[in-house]
């Protein structure tokens, strides 16, 4: 029996608001202290997990190609297999903070794959290597890509080699850019030159590596096991702890939603134990006399 001192107002609306934003349903009901506790506890726990996990512990799907190769660099004909992430079933209960993953899932499924031409100009940091056959020269720096004639791109690179030697290169060639929406902050890129690129003692034919991906294109987007392996390698146990934090935040909000819908599970909290025992025994006596 619900305590009449607790005004739940519209229970369904309160539960929905509590789902969307932890504590919001209780704020709607005027239960401000509980709203503050739920909001601060659940939201802080969720975002603590996000920070620990490099903002990548929330994803609704893990995707994979049906053939060997990089998922980012797949062509539009390649088949992609997706599996639902079980952890997301708990994370989604946090509400709005975890819902972007569903939007990203939709964008990911409609993404045509790697890009071989683009318009305009693209500037980014770059990490990768110049390649000639099996010889690599690792470099890092800044890259500028602009559209050229006949589907080619003009590429300008400025940076340093792995032993600190400055490198500059400018050339035209074909480009293959990783798909736009993917759950990694790094976007793979390969720029192939028709002529050799003189770099650090070799005539490179290819610049291969990764550039920055826009936050809105990688945040909570589906990823493959290679990206998860990279995260585990980089963060180790911290990534597991981050995921656990976000799962528990979602499960705690489930209790908050229930509280908004049906009130506190044990009662107001000022019931005396003797009165509870007498109420329980009087109920059982009346049941036996009726039987």
């Amino acid at each position: 029996m619900r305590d009449p001192r607790i005004n739940l107002r519209s229970r369904e609306l309160a539960a929905f608001l509590a789902f969307l934003i932890p504590g919001c349903g209780h704020f709607y009901q005027g239960r401000r202290l509980k709203a503050g506790i739920y909001f601060s506890g659940i939201v802080c726990l969720f975002f603590a997990g996000m920070i620990l996990g490099d903002w990548q512990p929330v994803y609704s799907q893990v995707a994979s190609l049906t053939k060997p190769g990089s998922l980012q660099m797949r062509s539009s004909d390649d088949q992609v297999r997706t599996n639902f992430s079980i952890g997301y079933a708990a994370q989604v209960l946090v509400g709005l903070p975890a819902l972007p993953s569903l939007l990203q899932q939709s964008r990911f499924s409609s993404d045509p794959g790697s890009v071989k031409a683009f318009d305009g100009e693209l500037q980014s940091d770059f990490v990768g290597a110049f390649r000639q056959g099996n010889v690599f020269r690792p470099v890092s720096g800044n890259i500028t890509l602009s559209s050229g004639q006949g589907g080619m791109v003009n590429c300008s690179f400025e940076g340093v080699t792995s032993d600190g030697q400055p490198v500059e290169a400018g050339f035209s060639g074909g480009i293959k850019l990783g798909q736009k929406v993917y759950g990694s902050p790094r976007r793979e890129v390969v720029v192939s030159s028709l002529d050799g690129i003189p770099v650090d003692g070799i005539e490179a034919l290819e610049l291969r590596g990764s550039i920055s991906r826009s936050f809105s294109d990688w945040y909570q987007a589906p990823r493959d096991s290679a990206e998860l392996d990279r995260l585990h390698g980089k963060l180790s146990r911290q990534f597991e702890i981050a995921c656990v934090f976000t799962w528990i935040a979602g499960l705690l909000n489930l209790m908050a939603i229930w509280d908004a819908f049906d009130g506190p599970a044990y009662g107001y909290g000022d019931e005396k134990p003797e009165e509870e025992d007498e109420a329980g025994s009087s109920e059982s006596k009346s049941k036996t006399s009726e039987g």
């Binding site: 506790i37 739920y38 705690l252 506190p264």
Partner: protein, 56 residues
């Protein structure tokens, strides 16, 4: 930071949110959350001690 230290804020949040969902009276909420937090840490400490003993 040792992994076990993450258990402290986690246990605190779980204790507080769980007890908040059980009661309405603020004093009862904070009292129950404190007791649950201490019991949780004690239980985790005991379990950790047992595991440490059998792994050494």
């Amino acid at each position: 930071m040792p992994s076990l230290f993450y258990a402290l804020p986690l246990a605190a949040v779980i204790s507080l949110v769980y007890t908040t969902s059980r009661y309405e009276l603020p004093s009862r909420i904070f009292q129950g959350a404190s007791v649950m937090f201490v019991k949780t840490l004690f239980g985790l400490g005991l379990l950790y001690g047992v595991l440490w003993y059998f792994s050494s």
